[in-house]
């Protein structure tokens, strides 16, 4: 009798653990999802530093366009999220505005905004992960670096993506303040590039679809898409990002990512 009670307790502890910890629930689909995510990260590791220019085109339901010119500098940080510096050239009223972020996989990101008219560097709250970036259909979290610890994974099956075969993987954000319940990604089995992502809002309904168009390889290793196309299914709005002048290993270091550089970027 006593023995039975003890085993019952043990069983309930195991059950409780299983409910609390997603690791305990890990089955073959979860394992395979994680393996794909690890490959995805591994294939894109070691790029060091990069810079690129981006034209962001915002379209509303009636097709009206609004354009932004943006430059982005990135620094890869080992065992942490990347550092990023975003410089706005257009619209002209925000020219010189710059955004500095140190992302952390699970903790809060450190973010500073420089307002050139006031010459003021403002530390801003990192709770805005789900908020729109520059009035676009991209949220801050959509543009932050991919880190394995940020999600739990579930492999959903194989599916064609163009001429390639893709793994369909469900990512569930583990970091705080995400606007999504899940993101379903299509990752090709050749180079582990993301071709498509579907974002599901807090009510688990489909919110947005992001499509990556025209991948190019840099430095014989790193793949970057020339175009990102984000469609919001709930508002009919869309945002297109056209990337150009991708450069890797331009010699950026920690010194190019601090509050002082934020104040003098052009």
């Amino acid at each position: 009798m006593k023995l039975l009670q003890r085993s019952q307790i043990t069983l309930s502890i195991i059950l409780a653990l299983a409910l609390v910890s997603p690791l305990a629930l890990a089955g073959p689909a979860e394992d395979k999802g994680l393996e794909i995510a690890k490959q995805r990260k591994l294939r894109d590791q070691g790029w060091g530093d990069s810079q690129a220019e981006m034209i962001m085109i915002l379209r509303n339901k009636s097709g009206q366009e609004s354009k932004r010119d943006i430059r982005i500098k990135n620094l890869e940080v080992d065992n942490d999220g990347d550092k990023g510096l975003t410089i706005f050239d257009r619209p002209r009223d925000v020219k010189g505005t710059a955004f500095l972020s140190f992302s952390h996989p699970l903790g809060n990101d450190d973010q500073w905004l420089y307002l050139p008219a006031l010459k003021r560097v403002k530390r801003i709250s990192s709770k805005n992960k789900s908020g729109p970036f520059m009035g676009s259909e991209f949220a801050y979290e959509d543009l932050s670096s991919f880190e394995i610890e940020k999600y739990s994974y579930k492999y959903l099956g194989d599916e064609k993506c163009g001429a390639l075969n893709c793994f369909k993987v469900e990512n569930t954000p583990l970091y705080k303040h995400s606007g999504y319940t899940k993101i379903i990604t299509w990752i090709d089995d050749q180079e582990y590039r993301v071709h498509k992502a579907e974002y599901y809002d807090r009510k688990s309904s489909l919110l947005k679809t992001l499509t990556f168009i025209e991948y190019k390889q840099y430095k014989n290793k790193f793949w970057r898409a020339d175009q990102y196309m984000m469609n919001n299914h709930q508002t009919g709005k869309s945002t297109q990002l056209d990337w150009k002048n991708y450069k890797f290993s331009v010699g950026l270091t920690d010194k190019d990512f601090n509050k002082n550089t934020l104040k003098r970027v052009r």
């Binding site: 010459k119 729109p132 601090n258 052009r266």
Partner: protein, 401 residues
């Protein structure tokens, strides 16, 4: 043979270097940007004093010339600014907001010329901000500043940034003229400012600041010695018997501190100073929080709730408007394509319950290159507030190019 090869090599090395030094200042074209605008200052009440008006229209222009060379290690920025006011000759003014040569070293930066520097974290009371003088005729918000001549060396170290400032030359605060509103019964006579220092406006001021970020905490500490940016206004009788209001600038020693803790949706802010001037030695504090609700009511709009309290040891609202005041504010960032923003704030004096002011600042981009701004300021009727009757709305339309 060896010698010959070496010479050639050296020549090769030298040639691009010389070419770079000679050509680089011209390799990048001069970048020109700017804005022009019109602004209407509309007052709710008829003026209290002769010569003042109910409406003041003005035109403004700000240009920006930028040139860099030496692989962007050196740059020059020139930013002239002008406003022409329909009535007020003091508000019609020209200023060099910036004329700055910046040289960037490995872990240091040197700025030489005329520029603007902002220190602080608060919204309502910019207590510790001291390098630049207010361009008060432009806008009473305290945001527009006059260009300050300076040599600024920044040393960027692991343990923080040290900024050394030598500030040769002082800028007097601008005040509305006879035909301008937002003043008391006497217009300030800016042509006869007086100084404690015999060097007058040529006194060389000095500042030293250390600032650093520790995880979620950003902080700065500074020492400033030089001419007080806040003048005392003295009533004087001229030889001809006329009464005039003269600004008097004393010398001060000031320690300042600014601090912000950024903890998820909370921003906790604190500014404090200790100032020793000709008349007093006192402390002042201003601090509070901003809490942001991201995406209110399932929209893209963020709402920030702000509360800031200010205190000044001198307890005299004539010397510091924020002597014992609380500010409640709300910031709406619509996060739309037009970058629409609204910041509203109520400042309530806790010593004089009838003394308060309300302010709205809003802006929105129109099309690609236009911006419309609105500023509304309402003041309670109170004998301590000389501009009680100057409730106004300012609308500004600017075109960027």
């Amino acid at each position: 043979m060896d010698f010959w090869v070496k010479q050639i090599r050296q020549g090769h090395r030298l040639y691009p270097l010389v070419a770079l030094m000679v050509l680089s200042p011209f390799s990048q074209a001069l970048e020109v940007n700017g804005k022009v605008g019109v602004s209407a200052l509309l007052f709710q009440h008829a003026p209290l004093y002769d010569k003042q008006h109910r409406q003041q229209w003005s035109a403004l222009a700000e240009l920006e010339f930028y040139h860099s060379w030496n692989d962007d290690q050196d740059s020059i920025l020139f930013k002239p600014y002008a406003r022409v006011d329909q009535h007020d000759s003091e508000r019609s003014h020209f200023d060099i907001r910036e004329l700055m040569w910046l040289h960037v070293g490995e872990d240091w930066e040197l700025r030489t010329g005329i520029g603007k520097v902002f220190w602080g974290v608060n919204e309502a009371n910019h207590l510790v901000d001291i390098i630049n003088q207010d361009d008060q005729v432009d806008d009473i918000s305290g945001d527009p500043k006059l260009g300050q001549p300076m040599v600024n060396l920044s040393l960027i170290r692991d343990w923080g940034t040290v900024d050394l400032f030598v500030l040769p030359g002082f800028r007097e605060r601008t005040f509305p003229g006879e035909e301008g509103r937002l003043r008391g019964p006497l217009a300030v006579d800016t042509d006869h400012a007086e100084y404690e220092s015999s060097a007058e406006n040529k006194h060389v001021d000095f500042a030293l600041r250390w600032s650093h970020t520790f995880d979620d905490y950003d902080m700065g500490l500074y020492y400033f010695r030089g001419t007080n940016r806040d003048p005392r206004l003295m009533v004087k009788q001229t030889s001809s018997g006329e009464i005039s209001l003269i600004p008097y600038y004393d010398q001060i020693d000031q320690f300042g501190l600014d601090f912000q803790a950024t903890l998820e949706a909370w921003l906790w802010k604190l500014e404090a100073l200790h100032r020793k001037d000709e008349f007093d030695s006192f402390a002042a504090v201003s601090g509070g929080f901003e809490y942001t609700f991201v995406g209110i009511m399932e929209s893209a709009t963020d709402l920030g709730i702000i509360m800031e309290y200010s205190w000044d040891e001198r307890a005299d609202p004539a010397l510091n408007q924020f002597q014992n005041d609380v500010m409640f504010g709300a910031r709406f960032a619509f996060n739309d394509a037009q970058s629409t923003e609204i910041l509203a704030g109520l400042v309530q004096d806790l010593d004089y319950s009838e003394l308060r002011s309300f302010q709205i600042e809003a802006s929105r981009r129109l099309g690609e290159d236009w911006k419309l701004s609105l500023e509304l300021r309402l003041f309670s009727d109170h004998e301590l507030n000389p501009i009680s009757d100057d409730d106004h709305l300012q609308l500004t339309l600017e075109k960027y190019f």
